[in-house]
Amino acid sequence: MSEASTENLKRTPLFDSHVKMGGKLVAFAGYEMPVQFEGVMAEHIWTRTQAGLFDVSHMGPCFLTLEAGIGGGDAAHAEISALVETLVPSDITSLKPGQARLTVLLNEDGGILDDLIITRPLGEDAQGTLYIVVNGAMKEQDWAIFEKALAGKAVLTRADDRILFALQGPKAVDVMADFFPGCEELTFMQHMPFEVNGQRCIVSRCGYTGEDGFEVLIPAEAGLPLIEEMYTDERVKPIGLGARDSLRLEAGLCLYGHDLNPEISPIEADLAWVIQKRRREAGNFPGAERILRELKDGPAKKRVGIRPLERAPAREGAEIQINGETIGVVTSGGFGPTYDAPVAMGYVAAAHAAPGTKIDLIVRGKARPAEVAALPFVPQNYKR
């Protein structure tokens, strides 16, 4: 593994905590982040069976708020949603207070500039505001796009000086209920505000491991003692980026810059479900012509799960062939500790996208047998 320079790298408010907990730190998205603590395999399995705590403060939490004087209620929500809907294909207007939705930021060609979660806050006085979390490596790009689109109509407030952490796993709900009583009532993609030590924070039932869990945005001064206390709970352990990657891959979730990029459309990425009916009918989003055409006729290539049939993992960039002819490429690949076998994702020509299709993966110049597999590799355990 090449050692990137740690000069000019930012640190999250949890940096000292990571060092204290024995984290091995690496450069990631411009930050010094823990890749692992006790080991990727152990952390992965811990998260699937207990509760894993992830620092995701390097990501891009922010708020978009209408300029003062527009008032609250549904009208204000409709107004801020209309602004954001010029950039994303999802139905933001119909979100109920407290509800969140995964969507994608699109370029004019219908390619994906980032994936993000948009939340409509609870509370009458919070209408006209959206809480948005974008990817860490993409946040400057995304925020510049928002600011340009919203100029004179709404303001963007960065919240990436706060702690954003995720607690994931089957025991996360019991641990969280001790700290945020009532949060156990939330279902997947719902959130509620809390006050901790006089500081406002946001608790969302979501995450990126395929497990039930929560993400919490909290100012550092309130979050640091909270997390220290969580670490005294025997069900909780810190988890690094290594296990975050293997968990999301087993869960069939895309990683921006790998499985998604500005050339790939949401239809090719098998994310057609982010485009609700009202938006499809209106067709008023960037790249709608291409996206609606792909919805109707099918895309030329599709994201699929891939199961190598031997023990050798196939990594990102491995060619996918049938009878010596290249039909696609692996975009994420590794070993699935819970699946107990190598797992991968990639894009193949649509004609070869059916689960069970026999393919070859070119690993170090050698063709290895594999097959197209249904995603996810490990069932998702969201609280619906």
Binding site: M1, V35, Q36, G39, V40, M41, A42, H44, G242, D245, S246, R311, A312, P313, R315, G334, F335, P337, P342, R364
Partner: protein, 123 residues
């Protein structure tokens, strides 16, 4: 019987003109959980310094370099079914290949245990 070590964290145990090659416990510790090891077949020829094997952890693939030149007499096929042995017994049961050494003079540039231990402490 003498064991030599490389700066890339391979070891070679020499008996006559036969060398048994593997990666060190230090390297295994750095790699983490090993899930797959790709080894050359018997008869393959190794050139000193060339990548001859690949160790895959959950996250990444790492090359292993030949500490000496020679012909592969035997590879440790047991690692195919139990790659985790590399983490547990890197310098004993989890050897990678046995090689017929073509030039014992190549051993001169390698470290002995004391020198290798000191080298690791400086990393």
């Amino acid at each position: 019987m003498t064991t030599y070590y490389t700066k890339d964290h391979e070891w070679v145990r020499v008996e006559g003109d036969t060398g048994t090659v593997g990666i060190t416990s230090y390297a295994a510790g750095q790699l983490g959980d090993v899930v797959y090891v790709e080894l050359p077949e018997a008869g393959a020829s190794l050139a000193k310094g060339d990548g001859f094997a690949v160790v895959e952890s959950v996250k990444a693939a790492s090359d292993v370099y030949a500490p000496i030149s020679g012909a592969v007499l035997e590879s440790n096929t047991g690692l195919a079914d139990a790659p985790e042995k590399v983490s547990e017994a890197a310098e004993s049961d989890a050897w990678f290949v046995r090689v017929k050494i073509s030039d014992t003079a190549e051993l001169e540039g390698l470290m002995d245990l004391a020198a290798y231990t000191e080298y690791c402490e400086g990393l």
